[in-house]
């Protein structure tokens, strides 16, 4: 196995929406191709703000974010989009485009000013839809799909950018447990097979612990712990992260115990 090189590296990131209320207070994080990383933490811990920094949507007050060795802020939007893609919490509603057209929008940064898809773009989109199992409803409108189907279309759209990094912001928060598992397993498979770095903000510690390669625990703008689930799922760390006493319940046949608030 070749040594993994971190493609996305954030060092000592600080950010505040208002000067007296820092949201991120020196966060470091790295993501390597072939790894599925989940960001965990209580509400307001700064997970989503960190994700927005990593996307280049907001500029950290201090610290550096490097993507493939180059500072994130030195990327031009189209150049960045060919390296890094994003999947939102909720797919856009009320769009009268078909699933295939939505996925082809992922080719925006690869096509000319009119964004007209050539045969190559269509092939990439088709492949992305195959990987996310969305080809069956390629011609259906996005707002006619179920939540799980629509979210898979949004993931296919991100894949069509052919990125090295995909960032997801609680992509399953509105889905039932079957579709939550389905999306997480798909992201893990994509991270390993593509390979690419997948960083996912997650609200479900058990799901993340079961499926992710790496976990990052955040609390009040700081990283509490980072590492493999087996290392990070510890009573003291989780109690500290979520500000609530937790029990760890051993699950037979699984290295990682189940977490339950006391």
């Amino acid at each position: 196995m070749t040594p993994e090189v971190d493609i996305l590296q954030a060092t000592d990131i600080a950010f505040a929406y208002r000067p007296d209320e820092p949201v991120l207070r020196g966060v470091s994080l790295s993501a390597a191709p072939g790894r599925f990383t989940c960001l965990l933490g209580s509400n307001g811990s700064g997970k989503t703000t960190l994700l927005r920094c990593l996307m280049g949507q907001i500029e950290p007050a201090s610290g550096a974010i490097r993507l493939d060795g180059k500072l994130l802020r030195d990327y031009r939007p189209r150049e960045l989009a060919r390296m890094l893609a994003y999947v939102p919490q909720l797919p856009a509603s009320s769009l009268a485009f078909s699933a295939a057209e939505i996925v082809l929008m992922g080719r925006y940064a690869h096509t000319g000013p009119l964004g007209l898809a050539g045969p190559g773009d269509v092939a990439v989109a088709r492949e992305a839809m195959k990987m996310t199992d969305t080809l069956d409803f390629a011609d259906r409108m996005l707002d006619e799909l179920s939540g799980g189907e629509a979210q898979r279309v949004m993931i296919a759209r991100a894949l069509a950018q052919q990125p090295s990094v995909i960032l997801l912001d609680e992509p399953t928060s509105h889905l039932d447990i079957r579709h939550q598992l389905n999306i997480y397993q798909m992201m893990r498979r994509l991270a390993h097979d593509w390979p690419m770095a997948v960083v996912c903000v997650s609200h479900d510690v058990n799901l993340a612990a079961r499926i992710a390669d790496d976990l990052v625990l955040m609390r009040r703008g700081l990283v509490v712990a980072a590492g493999s689930p087996a290392d990070v799922i510890r009573q003291d760390l989780l109690t500290q992260t979520y500000d609530v006493p937790v029990d760890l319940i051993p699950t037979p046949g699984d290295d990682v115990p189940m977490v339950r608030a006391k």
Binding site: P77, R82, Y108, P113, L114, G115, D139, D143
Partner: protein, 353 residues
């Protein structure tokens, strides 16, 4: 791994015309774009010729001057209609708001204040009308764009209802400015201005003004067309669009700039003609689907056709109801008012939630 195809639980406030799954169009390709452009262009020319001929065909004593003035008026109608329809479509895409339109957002009335300023000051300065009118109109349109956007936005996000309300506010303010401006206009010209303010294609437009305004609309349209793919992606949300490679801030600036230029040109030529920028893009979406790339070609040509027909109707119907000239703005507003209410009641029901 098939899923039950249940509807999403939240009822979406269908912002755009909806196509059923069975009629979903194939992926937009260059040849389809060219084909539609050619077809619509042909239709536009046909309508222009037909409208020029209506009412005078068969008359023997038609002079060359009358033909020329009729053709020129159709050209003016085409430029104004195309500019307003393209501007409306771009605003609806940019703001993800089906009710956005230069007239409703107060951009037209802003341009109107500029034009009025030019009229009021005409006695005092020597600048030719073809230069000063569009420039002043653009200044007014830009100021209104800026005001509407700044009033409506909160942290860079624009709520659909706030946008319409701030349009109402800016419209009211501009209306007051225009009324005040009336006081300074030469009494003999007040009637001219009153007709102009209703939105009317003039009997004779100086070629210089027509040239400048035509160029403004053409350049603005080219800019909007070049950004039309970005409006599609923007429909997925600002964050997704930005991560797809759209420079969202730049897109806002460029779009408002182009819309300002086009609206200013349209208003300088024909006064504030309302609702055309609302009706035409919606009809285009209903027929041709939501793709802004196709829309940015269909809507302007559709707008040209719409205004040429409306103007011809005004000229033909006018004498029947005992008025020599019905301002075309009255017709578009009579069509647009009910259409606005229809959109508000159906497409927009829950968009603000």
């Amino acid at each position: 791994m098939s899923e039950p195809a249940e509807k999403p639980s939240h009822d979406d406030g269908n912002l755009s015309a909806r196509r059923s799954a069975s009629t979903s169009a194939p992926i937009l390709s260059a040849w389809r774009l060219i084909l539609w452009t050619a077809a619509l262009l042909g239709a536009t020319v046909a309508v222009a010729v037909a409208c020029t001929l209506v009412g005078v065909i068969g008359l023997s004593d038609i002079t060359w001057e009358i033909w020329a003035s009729r053709a020129l008026r159709m050209l003016t109608a085409g430029i104004v209609g195309a500019g307003l329809a393209a501007a409306g479509l771009a605003l609806q895409g940019l703001l993800r708001n089906p009710l956005a339109e230069p007239y409703i957002l107060g951009i037209s009335s802003g341009a109107g204040v500029g034009v009025l300023l030019g009229m009021a000051a005409a006695g005092w300065w020597a600048a030719p009308a073809w230069a000063s009118t569009p420039v002043l109109a653009f200044a007014g349109a830009s100021a209104s764009c800026l005001a509407v956007y700044l009033v409506a936005q909160r942290h860079g996000r624009v709520d659909p209802y706030s946008l319409i309300l701030s349009g109402v506010i800016v419209n009211t303010f501009n209306g007051a400015l225009m009324l005040a401006g009336n006081l300074y206009i030469d009494r003999h010209r007040i009637a001219d201005f009153a007709y102009w303010a209703m939105g009317q294609l003039p009997d004779a437009t100086p070629m210089s003004l027509l040239g400048v305004c035509g160029a403004c609309v053409a350049v603005g349209w080219a800019v909007l067309l070049a950004n039309s793919a970005a409006y599609n992606v923007l429909g997925l949300g600002d964050d997704v669009a930005a991560s797809s490679g759209v420079s969202v801030h730049r897109l806002r600036l460029v779009t408002f700039g182009a819309v300002g230029v086009m609206t200013a040109a349209a208003v300088a030529l024909a006064g504030p003609i309302g609702f055309l920028g609302l009706i035409v893009p919606h009809i285009c979406r209903m027929v041709f689907g939501p793709d802004h790339r196709l829309g940015m070609i269909i809507a302007p040509l559709g707008g040209a056709i719409f205004l040429m027909i409306a103007e011809t109707l005004c000229r033909t119907v006018g004498p029947v109801v005992g008025i020599s000239r019905v301002p075309v703005g009255i017709v578009t507003a009579l069509c647009g008012g009910p259409f606005f209410i229809f959109l508000l009641r159906t497409r927009f029901r829950r968009a603000g939630q």
